[in-house]
């Protein structure tokens, strides 16, 4: 039954296309050379509907009801005959005129007819064969066209889905920062499944609980981050049994790499649609890719921790060999990070800036200790040595391949926005943004910590000095961001705690 309906639908589409694109007027003109003047029309349907063909009849047939009936009987007869034989059939009408009927056949069934009549002479066999050949070729072309369209319509959604999977793969494997990655996976999952909320939970080290790591809810900015025990609720069950758990309003998909590392749970599809089998399949594919990306990001995070540990150790060596002055690293690292965020720096740029903050005075290792610790005024030669430390620092750092990207920040962190700094006298935006940020934070650090040659300023005075030099020594935009950050209570208390050991 279904097949019959499908076939009928195809026949209808084919007939509609033939009616819309087949130019019978042109066919008629071409054949009038062989057949003289005649009339040609299309019957769109399996049977001949009398009412529909009445307008096509000749004057003689229209001149009275009996004649009309006789004519219609004749046409109906030849249509039936052609429908049975599935080939062109010629006829002679009651008014001594001639014609023929060509059946349009699909899947062994006639679904329409082309009728020609009002010819003075009987059409010869060759002409009928030529007509059949022409119409058959045309119909075949239209059928092919429709089949291709149908094929395209069937393939396109799959191709679009495949392209989406490929794009998602590219987007999630491009990020090595876990927080950024998890939030991205959540957003992409919601986009593909058209859900309103997504939560990603990862298994804790004891493998008993799922810890919430990223939650995105389109309907509210406030999201609750809940721990879930493995085995409880849909996310816990998905992890326990290692398979998707689906309800009308939720879909939990385990993140499986070599073992289960967590779960992605989607809630509430838009338009209140229930989650379906196709959603399960799509999420399974996405979760496979996500699990690999998460594992890579976790490994990268471990590596980052190692790098940071090495850099901190190196910074301590620099500190002990240089001025020997304690620097409150945590607060400056935090300030630098917050300023970077104000400038919408990406995760890797923030990391680079933090490394540069810790190592910005690496070049002081090359400056004699007596010069660095000298209490009185520096001689010109000693000042020249001090001025060389950014270049020397950059040179040391450049030799470490993984830290190469921080070299420009170290090299230019003593440049002034108005071009009066050193070592190159760069101006404005020619100075890398990281170096402009470090210039402000470095100056702030120098002012509030003890130096051999002067007493430290209070935090308030140091901030005031920075503000005074905005647009001259420092980039005004960086100063603006600095003031915003340095004015935060948590930052002031962190600096105080590190500097004076009190809040």
């Amino acid at each position: 039954m279904k097949r019959k309906i499908k076939t009928l639908d195809k026949e209808k589409r084919l007939m509609a296309r033939i009616a819309a694109t087949f130019d019978l007027k042109k066919v008629k003109n071409a054949f009038s050379r062989y057949l003289g003047s005649f009339s040609l029309w299309l019957i769109t349907g399996e049977v001949c509907e009398r009412e529909k063909i009445k307008p096509e009849l000749c004057k003689t047939a229209k001149s009275g009801a009996p004649k009309e009936r006789a004519c219609l009987d004749g046409i109906e007869g030849v249509v039936k005959k052609a429908g049975r034989s599935k080939k062109i059939e010629s006829f002679e009408c009651p008014f001594r005129r001639h014609g023929f009927c060509y059946p349009l056949v699909y899947d062994g069934e006639a679904f329409g007819y082309i009728v020609a009549c009002q010819m003075r002479n009987r059409p010869d066999k060759e002409t009928l064969e030529l007509f059949s050949y022409l119409i058959e070729t045309g119909v075949r072309g239209i059928r092919k066209e429709l089949e291709l369209e149908e094929l395209y319509e069937t393939i396109k959604p799959r191709a679009v889905a495949l392209s989406t999977v490929h794009t998602v793969h590219r987007l999630i494997t491009s990020s090595l920062y876990l927080d950024e990655l998890l939030s991205r996976i959540a957003r992409l999952s919601m986009q593909i499944i058209r859900a309103n909320r997504c939560s990603i939970k990862l298994i804790d080290s004891k493998k008993k609980t799922l810890l919430p790591k990223a939650t995105v809810d389109l309907r509210t900015e406030k999201t609750k981050l809940k721990k879930v025990k493995i085995g409880r609720w849909a996310p816990g069950k998905a992890v326990k049994y290692g398979k998707s758990i689906r309800g009308d309003k939720y879909l939990a998909t385990p993140l499986i790499d070599e073992d289960i590392i967590g779960v992605i749970t989607l809630y509430d599809k838009i338009e209140s649609q229930p989650f379906n089998h196709s959603d399960v399949e799509i999420m399974r594919t996405l979760a496979e890719q996500a699990a690999i990306a998460i594992k890579n990001a976790q490994l990268y995070k471990e590596q980052e921790k190692l790098t940071m540990g090495s850099i901190k150790a190196l910074a301590q060596i620099i500190e002990s060999k240089g001025t020997g002055i304690y620097v409150p690293k945590s607060s400056f690292l935090r300030i630098v990070q917050l300023i970077g965020q104000e400038f919408k720096m990406r995760e890797h740029e923030l990391k680079t800036l933090q490394y540069a903050t810790l190592l910005h005075d690496a070049g002081e290792l090359m400056v004699p200790e007596k010069v660095l610790k000298k209490k009185g005024k520096l001689t010109n030669e000693e000042y020249r040595l001090i001025k060389e430390h950014p270049l020397k620092g950059a040179k040391i750092i450049k030799s470490l391949k993984s830290l190469k990207s921080i070299a420009p920040i170290i090299m230019y962190h003593h440049e002034c926005y108005d071009g009066t700094g050193y070592p190159k006298g760069l101006k404005g935006s020619d100075i890398p943004l990281g170096a402009r940020i470090l210039a402000v934070v470095g100056a702030f650090e120098a002012m509030i910590t003890k130096r051999p040659y002067r007493v430290p300023l209070s935090i308030g005075r140091a901030i005031e000095e920075i503000r005074k030099n905005s647009g001259k020594q420092f980039d005004a935009k960086v100063v603006e961001a600095f003031l915003k950050v340095a004015g935060r209570k948590d930052i002031v208390s962190l600096i105080r705690k590190e500097l004076y050991g009190a809040r």
Partner: protein, 87 residues
């Protein structure tokens, strides 16, 4: 630019139609250029205009940008209406 004005442009309209018909799709400018049968640079420009108008969302990474359809029901209805009118 207002959405109505933007959808007067054929390329923007074709892209809008693609996303309206494939609302779960996320694709790169190269992929979308293939669906709408246009050159990639022109498609990229049109995509950025549609992002600015709020009709598309962009997911940027260093190597490429993925574009997806808005989740705003009202906007989706509006796009549907505009596309119907422009047919």
């Amino acid at each position: 630019m207002a959405l109505g004005k933007l959808l007067k442009n054929k390329l923007c309209r074709d892209i809008a139609r693609f996303f309206h018909e494939n609302q779960s799709s996320i694709d790169t400018p190269r992929g979308i250029a293939m669906w709408v049968k246009e050159e990639r640079p022109a498609v990229k420009k049109a995509l950025d205009k549609l992002v600015a108008a709020g009709m598309l969302l962009d997911h940027r990474v260093s190597s490429t940008t993925g574009y997806s359809y808005t989740r705003d029901k009202k906007l989706i209805r509006e796009v549907g209406k505009q596309l119907k009118n422009k047919n």
